[in-house]
Symmetry: C2
């Protein structure tokens, strides 16, 4: 499989690769003129391109062929993630990108112990781009700026189904909930940070239609819950299917 | 919930806590005489204990009450993991412990780039113990010494069902496979390292009854595959159910 690069720079029929992607192409991969790579414009298509020139800061390429990339999930999953401590958000962004997430929205909840300023969305976008390249996607998930929990609530009506695991929910099991949800087209997953959610937040989310579920008797860390629920939702609804 | 400690030291009715667990109890938690903690003997029971003395290197406790812990999955899942690079095995051990794994067997396959000597099983046992404490289990998953792939194959007949994701499998989807597997009592999950498996290894595993499946069109990193498949197996068969 040809190596994968993302760019938004084109000049007519000519594709330009610059900045970090240029560095990766020329200094890391040591690509040569005539070599073929896959270039993505974040539109769901793979463009097989040939390198026609290599400048000091810029590579130019021409498209040889173009085909639809089949790595996008056929359901839109948005992960609303209360910001966890340390670099755990990096891990969550990386893994949920591999698993097929479409959008990630970091937010602050009552028990979040991290400040908005410590969330580096440029860095998260880079993590998402690297993960998309590695797993063979032609779309990098959107990473939104940090929101408040109230802002998150206001956007929930865009989704067919809203799934929200809660540590103190003791009866509604996730499997029962997902089977009843049938097959939604767009799903919001809302995951807490280390502190979890306060009961007011759960009530507010319920008012917005969130399905509050248990993840069972073992208490999952914030990042484990995110990766695990993302896996389960993709398994349940997209079936991790193969082919086009 | 009372804090959770593991020990295998008892002297008649007296429970002893020493070594690292003592350090955690006394120096980190700053526990006092009369305080109550949960002590586990790795037998699936929680023992509510009261601290009766605190020495320089040893705490003694007495059992106040004892009850079955409900955090163990009702299926036995063993994760056979080809050793990945760097500290990714730590992450896999931590996350699969939270998700309910019973045993983890690191092994070397043809494309594994890590040497057996770099797998520190003492360190992995510590990671598993910490994860078990954190997620509320009363059993620490067993961590075996590094095996060869041939040794792994010889143990597979112990399992009702053997699941083996393979990057080049393009037709058999994991969901189809798991639905057909009905509800096995013991499951082996075999996950490759960065290099994946060679076709000979896949053929040998097939001979031993392994169900070779695809994880879909996105190529998951080794550690993502492990955490994701562990989540899916627990979801499918244990249902992440609540209660006792």
């Amino acid at each position: 499989m040809a190596k994968r690069f993302f760019t938004s720079y084109t000049d007519g029929d000519i594709i330009l690769i610059q900045d970090e992607e240029y560095h990766h192409l020329v200094n890391v991969m040591r690509a040569q003129i005539g070599e073929q790579i896959t270039v993505c414009f974040n539109d769901g298509y793979d463009n097989l391109c040939e390198i026609i020139s290599l400048g000091k800061n810029l590579a130019t390429l021409k498209i040889m062929s173009r085909q639809k990339n089949n790595a996008e999930a056929d359901i839109d999953v948005t992960l609303f993630q209360a910001v966890p401590k340390g670099d755990k958000l990096d891990l969550i962004v990386q893994k949920s990108t591999e698993l097929g997430v479409k959008k990630i929205v970091p937010f602050l909840s009552k028990f979040t112990q991290t400040k908005a300023i410590s969330v580096k969305s440029d860095r998260l976008k880079k993590v998402a781009t690297e993960a998309a390249k590695q797993c063979g996607r032609a779309v990098v998930p959107e990473i939104e700026e940090v929101k408040t929990f109230s802002e998150v609530l206001k956007t929930l009506d865009e989704y067919d189904y809203i799934l929200m695991p809660y540590e103190l929910e003791k009866t509604r099991e996730i499997k029962t909930a997902l089977i009843k949800a049938n097959k939604p087209t767009s799903i919001a997953i809302i995951i807490g940070s280390e502190g979890g959610f306060c009961i007011d937040e759960i009530e507010q989310a319920k008012q917005c239609g969130a399905d509050i579920v248990s993840l069972g008797n073992r208490i999952l860390r914030a990042e484990t819950a995110a990766i695990s629920v993302m896996s389960i939702v993709i398994y349940q609804f997209e079936q991790m299917k193969t082919g086009v």
